[in-house]
């Protein structure tokens, strides 16, 4: 095992052709990831014709690298303009964009890019460690556990809203859960709140809602206020690699958080059915909940950037596991990847371990090396990219609004989403002006769907007795502890409130 491990790394690094392909793959992956609205799934589907005729290992490395670094660049627009490219990037926006507003875009980007890389690499590590115990772990998660995990995530809302806002947070979270019920009822097939609008049958587009609630309100605020995104002038910030480096160093400073969120991310990726956005949001919630000063979140806490980014890259390593060893894809992106593997002559299944162990290790190393290349490259160019936050709003806002509109349209290719974008943008702006938290909304939306569907399945399968499954009891214990902790905290006056009183 050990010799295969290192010989695969050697073979990967010493083949100029494979390394060249990886460089190209990283570039494509980063560009696709930076564009809002188009996901990594499409890029793999489009790349499939090109991997015909490629050697098995090279083709697989090419596609996997492209897919793995996809999440690394999505954060750039989330942090700089408050424009998330996808549901999981939205978690990064909540603290990343306030940092940019404080003139700390460089620090935020430095931290988030490094966090993505670290997450990707730890994800690869989890992948390697999990191989022997893959079966029991994956098979332990059934609809019962999905339901309780979703509920656990929803309870994090209590912390996200921060202190006195707990009721506002609950209202917003419930609003998100109500919107999650739009569409075809997964159980009865009746359409709910969708009427004759076919585009609503599969639910409201998550990307559109996220853009409407986070991106557009910020842009309206910026346009009204004038000036630039960064509220301080460029001279005061002394914009340089130094600030980016400070950001990079934030990750080792919060190493334990980064490690935890990477592992949680990888585990969620490993268990098919929970979906990518859930990983980023659960980890964001975890960062807030485990912080000693949760009131800083939403106002530019660097942990709020690190947690979702580690999670969203770590989940790629995780979701490769069931794909490769069960032949059951862990995400929609991995489903496309599996098709591509078949073309290359790789037959995913338990035989991978016995017949293609070298390939498995090459793929693990490709995750590591690909993430390293992406991080180095992005850190290098960030210095120039971050300067955009100092551009005058009158020049910037129109461009970003167009980008947002394209993102909302392209994601599902339906013009009706533009109407939703405008309508929900008004709601988002009202929430922003009134000081209501917006993060609970996305949590309610993402996890509400999972909770509903898995509750139905679990009840159908086991009735109410699913609550007493061993893993269920553990999760119920965690939920009770979280809620109890939230109540305890809300009774204690927070540091921020004291500050407000004195100022």
């Amino acid at each position: 095992m050990i010799d295969v491990m290192f010989s695969s790394l050697g073979a990967l690094l010493t083949s100029p052709q494979t390394m060249g392909l990886m460089l190209i793959a990283v570039l494509i992956g980063l560009i696709v990831g930076a564009t809002p609205g188009i996901g990594g799934r499409l890029s793999i589907a489009l790349a499939i014709p090109f991997v015909f005729g490629m050697d098995m290992t090279q083709g697989a490395v090419f596609l996997l690298t492209m897919h793995a670094v996809n999440g690394t660049s999505g954060q750039i627009s989330s942090i700089m303009f408050g424009v998330p490219g996808d549901g999981d990037d939205a978690a990064t926006t909540i603290d990343g964009y306030p940092m940019a507003k404080k003139g700390e875009a460089g620090r935020a980007l430095g931290a988030s890019i490094t966090a993505s890389g670290v997450g990707g690499i730890i994800g690869a590590g989890v992948f390697a460690i999990m191989i022997p115990v893959l079966e029991p772990v994956i098979l332990a998660f059934s609809p019962a556990e999905f339901f309780l995990l979703a509920i656990l995530g929803i309870t994090f809302i209590a912390f996200l809203a921060g202190g006195q806002n707990i009721f506002k947070g609950m209202i917003v979270g419930l609003f998100g859960m109500i919107l999650a019920t739009i569409g075809m009822d997964p159980q009865t097939g009746t359409t709910r709140y969708a009427g004759d609008y076919l585009f609503l049958w599969d639910g409201v587009s998550l990307v559109t809602l996220v853009l409407a609630l986070f991106a557009v309100p910020e842009m309206i605020t910026l346009a009204v206020k004038g000036g630039s995104i960064a509220s301080v002038s460029m001279e005061n910030v002394k914009y340089s690699y130094k600030q980016i480096f400070q950001g990079v160093m934030e990750v080792p400073r919060h190493w334990f958080l980064a490690l935890r969120t990477s592992i949680i991310g990888a585990m969620i990726g490993m268990v098919p059915g929970l979906g990518g956005s859930a990983a980023a949001w659960l980890c964001y919630g975890h960062a807030v909940q485990s912080s000693k000063t949760p009131e800083r979140f939403g106002h530019g806490a660097v942990e709020g950037v690190i947690a979702p980014e580690t999670a969203s890259n770590a989940k790629e390593g995780g979701s490769l596991l069931p794909t490769l060893f069960f032949g059951i894809p862990g995400s929609s992106g991995m489903a496309v990847m599996m098709g591509a593997f078949l073309i290359l002559g790789i037959q995913p299944g338990p035989a991978m371990l016995t017949q293609h162990l070298d390939l498995v290790w090459t793929l693990i190393w490709a995750l590591v090396v690909g993430n390293l290349i992406a991080v180095t490259f992005l850190l290098f160019i960030t210095r120039w990219v971050a300067v955009l936050t100092f551009i005058n709003a009158s020049m910037l806002v129109p461009f970003i609004i167009v980008m947002v509109a394209i993102g909302a349209y392209v994601n599902e290719g339906q013009w009706e989403n533009l109407v939703i974008l405008v309508m929900m943008s008004a709601v988002g702006y009202a929430m922003l002006r009134a000081g209501w938290p917006r993060a609970p909304f996305v949590i309610g939306l993402v996890l509400g769907r999972i909770a509903e569907e898995s509750l139905h399945k679990a009840l159908d399968l086991w009735g109410y007795s699913f609550f007493v499954r061993p893993l269920s009891l553990v999760l119920i214990g965690m939920i009770i502890a979280t809620v109890g902790f939230a109540i305890y905290k809300s009774r204690r006056p927070s540091v921020l409130d004291n500050l407000k009183v004195t100022s």
């Binding site: 793999i44 609809p143 097939g189 076919l198 599969d202 073309i343 139905h456 399968l461």
Partner: protein, 338 residues
């Protein structure tokens, strides 16, 4: 010995045949001229990735090759279980520049006259179908059920996974369960490959699904196929051979007709005949291209094509069901009883 007259007649006949053949190819050629420098939108009524998308992209790429000067652009229009994309194809201008692919299961939705359905499959311009995708009953490895008889003799209802209500998987499972009186309890909401994982976990015993989607699962030793509907494979017994009931056989035949015409390509009603000939011609050449076949094989996508008229006939036959079948279908499409 052949008389002179018969010989002459034979020549005449051959000449006429040649003429007809020439005329049709000339007709198709005339249509092919039209596509020079034009862009053809190939709509895939589902998201990127997955079977429909793979077949769609393959078909589009090779049809472009055999319609010189044309550019095929694949456009994904997912949503509402293929209905959005199919409505879009149906409503597009019948100039031959918009065609696409969608789920054969929409036949069910049309038979039951669903209000969201804005198309009439029997009026569409049928270019061809790429595959047959027979259905199988799959049972998880750990279950003691080894055959269809085993399944029928179960006292307790067995958990079967289906996708969302209204999906082909849902409709077929309800119909067959009711008609065959199978001891099956349906659990819906298992989309994508959720059902395979659930069978690995053991919470789900079986599933009625397309054979191709379970090929790898069975090869990996996670389950077994106990009955098949349609298809040429001989390793699994045909369900029809194990059933006596007339009504049930009728429904099995309906499901089989679904499986026979899988991975369709069609355009809106009223595409001019010469352009249709050119499209069918290009589709046929694409399907016969050994390169396409090799690529499809690697992807695990079976290629068993049929073209134009014959697909239309099969579709029409499937839609024209007796009132009794129609009633059973409507029943199956309704909300499940709790």
């Amino acid at each position: 010995m052949m008389s002179k007259a018969t010989l002459k007649n034979a020549f005449k006949l051959a000449g006429a045949a040649c003429f007809v053949l020439q005329a049709t190819t000339a007709f198709a050629q005339q249509g092919a001229e039209f596509f020079k420098g034009k862009t053809v939108n190939y709509i895939v009524a589902t998201a990127p990735g997955g079977g429909y998308d793979s077949y769609g992209r393959l078909v589009a790429e090779y049809m472009q090759r055999y319609l010189p000067g044309s550019t095929f652009v694949v456009k994904n229009m997912p949503g509402a279980g293929h209905i959005i994309g199919t409505n879009a194809i149906y409503a597009s201008k019948p100039d031959g520049l918009t065609i696409g692919t969608f789920n054969t299961g929409l036949i069910y939705n049309q038979i039951t006259k669903e209000s969201a359905v804005k198309f009439d499959l029997s009026k569409m311009s049928w270019i061809g179908k790429a595959a047959a995708d027979p259905r199988v009953i799959v049972i998880a490895q750990q279950s003691p059920i080894k055959s269809f008889e085993d399944l029928m003799s179960q006292k307790q209802p067995q958990n079967f996974a289906v996708a969302g209500p209204g999906s082909a998987s849902f409709v077929e499972t309800v119909m067959l369960t009711n008609a065959l009186k199978m001891p099956v309890k349906m659990l819906s909401g298992y989309n994508g490959t959720d059902d395979q994982l659930a069978m690995r976990r053991g919470e789900i015993v079986g599933s009625i699904a397309s054979r191709s989607s379970y090929k790898a699962f069975v090869e990996n030793g996670y389950g077994r196929m106990i009955a098949q509907i349609g298809g040429a494979e001989k390793d699994v017994p045909q369900l029809a051979s194990m059933v006596k009931d007339e009504k049930a056989l009728g429904l099995i035949a309906l499901v089989q007709s679904q499986g026979d015409i899988a991975r369709l390509t069609a355009g809106p009603p009223g595409i001019p005949a010469d352009r249709m000939d050119a499209l069918i011609d290009a589709y046929k050449k694409a399907m016969e291209d050994p390169e396409l076949q090799a690529r499809a094989e690697k992807l695990g996508l079976p290629v068993q094509p049929a073209y134009g008229e014959s697909v239309l006939k099969a579709v029409t036959a499937a839609i024209n069901q007796s009132d009794e079948t129609r009633a059973m279908l409507s029943e199956a499409l309704k909300a499940p009883k709790k």
